[in-house]
Assembly symmetry: C2
Homo-oligomer: 221 residues x 2
DNA sequence: CCAGGGTTTTAGGCAAGCCTTAAACCTCGC
DNA sequence: GCGAGGTTTAAGGCTTGCCTAAAACCCTGG
């Protein structure tokens, strides 16, 4: 009945650090603040609190990384998030592009017990509806062998594998165009003057900005 | 990604008022405070805030009732709570006496969309695993035709219908003794000197205190 | 090597929810 | 009708998480 004040914010910070740190290795506080929609001052404050709790390491002027404990905590949240996405998009039949937001709410209200039961109920899915791998109960997962379209070379072909990191705006945009994991992709060319990437996806050619292309991963064949 | 200020506390207050007001019609602030584990001063403060928002009416020195808006809000939470209980105890296979706590977390993180989809997925159940009716999306439900054991007369027989209000301690206690909705009940006698109620449930005789008996409902045959 | 821009600290604030202590107040039963 | 006990107000405080503004600081590119 009583409810702990721990959760929500702390978990969102850790989750966000884990997302930002994937590429850079170090998540700048400014990026963290921007992603979470708070001021840099607030983010700095919070990072200090998390540091004191041993959840993150902060290298001044460089950025933030997760400690072992922080990573564990972050992956537990990510696991819940993706399991809920599977449930919402699967048995519950919600739209692919809507489940992310709902899962964002549920992820912080999920005990280990429920996560495990949900995992078993869903048949231990390997990936969420957006193609991202689901950590197991120990926090481990298999890193997919894919690359963002932004790293593909013109002419390459393959299959879309995942959208990462997920965001409502992006998912809506992609859903409206029928772009999702499993689609066949052919990177035709990059438009001149650093223009958008022209990518043929399931027979339809799309002009994708560099930002977006960095969020769409695929496996080259 | 952005997430709204917690409606958590507000919803817990409204839910609790709805539970306490069932019998009395008016929920005393002291009972509210006790149930929520906060001080009477804090509860009074909060009731004022809820009053300003038009969610409750406060009759000084008497108690609190829900306004139409407050009731609507409370029933939506109750609906989510009981739907989650059905899901957790059914498809997920969690223990009858454990699902209440988990549902308490999830209920505040559930959109109408998810509640509706969950309702459909579960086959529009009429009651939760503890026997309590599940409001429909408009907040209405069929009030069961039962009475707490504390209102039964010695000698009466019937079938247990529900546990209400639910609480972890009570559910654990009852689960350990195999007492749950659906059990056949025979109110043998009330022990002398205002003693416990002797009730034969599924062939086993239990001595139930008056407090507990007020929380166990049954339909007399 | 130096300035511009990102990063951090300092300082002062706000709102929600909770706390305690103490005084004022009402209600009800004897 | 009076007092005990429940209810409310008042006063002062705490924590979390957020804000702005302004100053101090560091890193890097030109």
């Amino acid at each position: 009945m009583k409810h702990e004040p721990f959760n929500e914010s702390v978990e969102m910070y850790l989750k966000t650090v884990s997302e930002l740190a994937v590429h850079e290795g170090l998540a700048p506080i400014s990026a963290l603040a921007h992603q979470l929609g708070v001021s840099a001052v607030s983010a700095t404050e919070m990072v200090h609190r998390l540091g004191e709790q041993g959840l993150v390491d902060h290298v001044p002027y460089r950025g933030v990384t997760l400690t072992e404990a922080g990573a564990q905590r972050a992956y537990r949240v990510v696991r819940c998030h993706r399991l809920w996405e599977c449930f919402l998009a699967g048995p519950l039949g919600l739209a692919w592009e809507h489940v992310h937001d709902q899962a964002c709410q549920l992820e912080h209200a999920t005990s280990e017990e429920v996560a495990d039961a949900l995992d078993a109920f869903l048949g231990r899915p390997a990936v969420c509806p957006h193609g991202n791998p689901i950590p197991d109960r120990s926090g481990a997962w298999r890193e997919p062998d894919d690359a963002p379209l932004s790293e593909w070379l013109p002419g390459e072909r393959g299959t879309l594998s995942r959208i990462y990191p997920e965001s409502t705006l992006l998912l809506d945009y992609l859903a409206a165009r029928g772009i999702k994991p499993g689609c066949a992709a052919h990177f035709v060319e990059i438009a001149p003057f650093n223009g958008p990437l022209m990518v043929c996806i399931d027979g339809e050619t799309h002009a994708l900005g560099h930002e977006i292309a960095a969020h769409i991963y695929g496996i080259r064949t």
